[in-house]
Symmetry: C2
Subunit: 297 residues, 2 copies
């Protein structure tokens, strides 16, 4: 089976389309790589590009994109709502087909080493590629952001995994890692009470004792005047969409509130939806080779 | 988008593997056609081949297979449990991607006309391709089988859509048609009472006032000593898997019996599973382009 890896680099630029176009161009130059998605957010001043291909091609394209970002983005002039520490801020590899997490960790190490050597940018390995437990969580790696890291990078606990023990003056530092596919999943509540959404979010997320692979916030959807539990399902093989949905439903019920529906934002692996069908239909002995479309290769 | 049609011809031979191998070979000769599945049943004395490709290629392969079956299978010597009227008994075209039901009906007409002209076999159009309402249902078209049809084919109501008004002496007659994908779906009950499975089957199937696109039987699974509702979901866009499952669950509950699980036999279109996820997760605004694998083309 052909090996397929997804790469989802985040860049600290969400306002100048011409810069994003140049970075996309650098990715496209690599034959065998396919760009699936690019979304820019002006208030975050950040862009997320999703692309896919064989491991070598994806690694090469990721390096080219990082090199362009280094040339085009100056963090000393960057302002935005989203925390960031680098021009290319984070580069995760995601196993999609015929490839293990371990191989993606190895890809992250190779790319990290190359970025440090050729671009002179310090690199932190995170998530499955982390070399220390306290670097698994990206938020912990990025704490202090670009400005703070300039002060602290000399400390032992802030030593980069590759590259110089000083932040690049304009391009900062970058986190490179490997992780399962992340699903952005929101559950809508039949209430405009933000407190209830926050209470439910707190009960399911790992940081407050819920599922370790779940991140969640309570928000208000202004246009519909309803509260929403906004969720990152960070490992759907560990905690699946139906388990998240049923947990939110049960917690909402305790608060006397109905769940009106849910939504998946962006891409979702077929397996996560098939899981949901298996869960609710109580499918026995189902094999993904039974999916007609999976025979078409 | 590339047009993809599935073809699922049934042949009246399930005991001589060398005959099936020859028919498979005739299909394989057509470049651009992919064989997905072949299952033979000795007691039915019948084989079902599933293959896929562009409309012209699939039509050509179906004709070649019909021609080989005519040469190799003699219905005067055929015995089996499954009703049949022809060496190649039925040839349905199923729209898979980028092609409408109407185009599949046109394919069925073209193939039917070619089989009649070149193989001298009478052809009945059925399901979406039927030219009379009483020919939509395959069981009605095939009533009397090979032996009976030899007597009745001269009657006005039995006039074939193409070809001679007499049954081919050894190859019989064939039904050619177009239909949605059929899903073989079984629901298992926590009882060994066959009567309950039969009662539930009766309540959901079209022939006794249930869903028109559902066929169902009650059976006993000897190896597990449980009763099962064995179902053909003939149009999952009309009546979906979750609707069937929930209806069976409700009917079982009325009988004081639990549903232990369900199973999909053979192939299932991805859309039918995504439907189940949408139904139970109450997904809003979901688009099948959000499925990662669907971006890989």
């Amino acid at each position: 089976m052909k090996k397929l890896v997804e790469c989802v680099p985040n860049f600290s630029e969400g306002r100048r389309p011409e810069v994003i176009a140049e970075i996309l161009g650098a990715i496209r130059e690599t034959v065998g790589v396919q760009i699936l998605d690019c979304s820019s957010d002006a208030s975050h001043n950040r862009s997320v590009i999703t692309f896919l291909g064989g491991p070598d091609e994806v690694k090469r394209a990721a390096f080219q994109a990082a090199a362009r970002a280094k040339d085009l983005i100056d963090l000393t002039a960057h302002r935005g709502e989203h925390p960031r520490m680098g021009a290319v801020d984070v580069i995760p590899f995601v196993p999609v087909e015929g490839i293990s997490m371990e191989e993606c960790v190895e890809l992250a190490r190779q790319l990290g080493s190359e970025i440090a050597a050729k671009l002179d940018i310090p690199v932190y390995l995170y998530e499955a590629a982390a070399t220390r437990p306290e670097r698994k969580n990206l938020a912990d790696v990025r704490r202090g952001e670009f400005e703070g890291l300039r002060e602290t990078i000399g400390l032992e606990e802030k030593m980069p995994d590759f590259g110089p023990a000083r932040v690049h003056p304009t391009a900062g530092a970058v986190a490179v890692g490997a992780r399962p596919p992340l699903i952005a999943y929101n559950v809508n509540l039949a209430t405009s009470d933000l407190g209830i959404a926050k209470k439910i979010a707190k009960s399911i997320r790992g940081s407050s004792g819920g599922y370790p692979s779940i991140k969640a916030l309570g928000v208000i959807l202004d246009d519909r005047n309803i509260a929403q539990v906004s969720i990152n399902v960070c490992n759907f093989r560990e905690v699946s969409l139906p388990r998240v949905f049923e947990t939110v439903k049960r917690e909402a019920e305790r608060c006397g509130v109905n769940v009106t529906g849910s939504e998946i934002v962006g891409l979702v692996p077929q397996e996560a939806l098939v899981d949901a069908a298996e869960y609710y239909l109580r499918l026995e002995n189902f094999n993904k080779d039974q999916v007609l479309e999976n025979r078409l290769k």
